[in-house]
């Protein structure tokens, strides 16, 4: 599993906000699921429908408290297509925010088909939450310690 699939959060901090953006007038619709591993089996805990729409941005707040979310997986599936003439590529960002701090960001630049062609780009991934021991320690510092 790549390093970037881990998101370090403060267990004593505020709720986690997830923000999704798509630029260049690209429209996207997605489903985010929070999964929890219980007795060796993944259970669905929360589900969110995210539509970036005219603004190119949408967000939601996880109901689960950060202290109870360690090792949970937030997985998503995104469908996207382009409505603006001549636009073939766009940037997508998924950011986990806690107490105003960006805890984790995934950026990607993708070729997207035209909505008018009746086609969509379907992609997805997931992130695992881990409790941060020291709030001053960044994700990269933590990985340096393990290498």
């Amino acid at each position: 599993m790549p390093k970037s699939n881990y998101c370090l959060i403060n267990p004593d901090g505020g709720s986690l906000k997830v923000k999704v953006t798509a630029n260049n007038g690209i429209r996207s619709g997605s489903i985010f699921i929070l999964w929890e591993l219980q007795n060796g089996k993944w259970e669905k805990k929360e589900k969110f429908k995210v539509i970036t729409g005219d603004d190119g941005v949408d967000e939601f707040i996880l109901l689960e408290k950060p202290g109870d979310i360690e090792n949970d997986s937030l997985a998503w599936s995104i469908n996207a297509c382009s409505t603006i003439n001549n636009v073939e590529r766009g940037e997508f960002n998924i950011t986990v925010i806690q107490d105003g701090k960006n805890r984790w960001t995934k950026e990607s630049s993708r070729l997207v088909p035209k909505c008018s062609d009746g086609k969509q780009l379907k992609f997805g991934s997931h992130v695992i939450f881990k409790h941060l021991i020291n709030d001053n320690l960044s994700t990269s510092d933590l990985w340096k310690d393990t290498e």
Partner: protein
């Protein structure tokens, strides 16, 4: 010559016949979304306009579509029609321009202006200059379009609803489809089919400005001393769609500076109007215009039919004057519009 005229007549008859036979489909029934981009209000190539290679003289003012490659071809046997190629694209996005969102497109006139710029290049082999290659470049800006599809909020909502994954697409806890795949979504096609019906029934206007320059490479040579520019033109065109009747009125005024072997330092105005009738798969058009350089009033007829995916066939009948002999003749100009963005997928 007689054989050519007969071929022309047969071609136009077949064009209209096929167009009308396909035009009886109900809106939304088995309509492919790509037909929306190809058979409706696709503006003419500015670079073809300055070479007189467009099938019509009076141009359209609507916002440009995706990358379109146009061929002016002599796929009929007549030698009078000049083979050529025009390639149109948007410079803003091609050279790295960005747009924050659909909202920015709607609210920022500047961004919308840039997003709808159309840059165009063309070459053509003219029978007027059989040993030379004619080439041109042009730019076209949409100043205003009240029927711009991006302002159709219903279409935006329909697309959003179509994009939300259904229950079968619930991502698993270890979902790792980061590369992504392009898949068909019939609901998107339906959203555009509905938008097309709304578009055709909506009244509204648009305004566009263009400039183009044409040159001649003598003996097909691109050495500096072999290239001469022989024409500049700038134009303003307005369009008003009447709505449910499917009729559209276009008016154009164009300033042209011409330096051909017969006319040195000749300039003047070409102005006129066109009436267009839009069907589902067929566009019929008639135009009349005044050319102050020739002191003549000319007319033309035009038919455009969408037959197969990615390809639109068109043909026009137009009274024209030969630049060398000065003879007047009614010419058929057949051609093809090819949706480049469709073809490369």
């Amino acid at each position: 010559m007689e054989r050519y005229r007969i071929s022309c007549s047969i071609f136009i008859f077949l064009l209209v016949l096929v167009g009308y036979s396909q035009d009886t489909e109900q809106p939304g029934d088995n309509q492919d979304a790509y037909s929306f981009k190809l058979d409706y209000n696709v503006p003419e190539s500015p670079a073809f306009a300055v070479l007189d290679a467009n099938p019509t003289t009076i141009m359209r003012a609507s916002t440009p579509q995706e990358i379109i490659t146009q061929l002016a071809s002599n796929f009929l046997s007549g030698n009078e029609v000049s083979p050529g190629l025009a390639f149109d694209f948007n410079p803003y996005f091609t050279f790295g321009g960005r747009l924050k969102s659909v909202k920015e497109y709607r609210n920022s006139y500047g961004k919308r202006f840039l997003a709808n710029l159309q840059l165009s290049f063309a070459t053509i082999n003219s029978m007027d200059f059989p040993d030379d290659l004619l080439f041109s470049g042009g730019i076209r800006a949409t100043l205003f379009d009240s029927k711009d599809l991006i302002f159709d909020k219903q279409l935006g909502e329909d697309i959003d609803n179509a994009l939300v994954p259904d229950e079968s697409d619930i991502p698993g806890p270890m979902n790792n489809n980061d590369q992504g795949t392009v898949v068909d979504n019939p609901a998107l096609k339906q959203a555009y089919a509905n938008a097309k019906t709304r578009y055709m029934e909506k009244a509204g206007g648009s305004l566009a400005l263009g400039y183009a320059i044409a040159g001649r490479a003598k003996d097909n040579s691109f050495k500096t001393d072999s290239i001469v520019t022989y024409r500049h033109q700038a134009w303003l065109v307005g369009q008003y769609d009447l709505g449910k009747s499917g009729m559209s009125i276009n008016a154009m005024v164009m300033y042209r500076y011409d330096q051909t072997p017969q006319t040195t330092d000749n300039d003047g105005l070409i102005s006129g109007i066109a009436l267009r009738k839009y069907g589902k798969k067929l566009i019929l058009s008639a135009e009349i215009y005044h050319d102050s350089m020739k002191e003549s009033i000319d007319f033309g007829g035009y038919a455009e039919v969408y037959l197969i995916p990615s390809i639109t066939l068109f043909a026009s009948l137009k009274k024209e004057t030969n630049s060398i002999t000065g003879d007047e003749d009614v010419l058929l100009k057949p051609g093809i519009k090819w949706n480049f963005s469709q073809a490369k997928k």
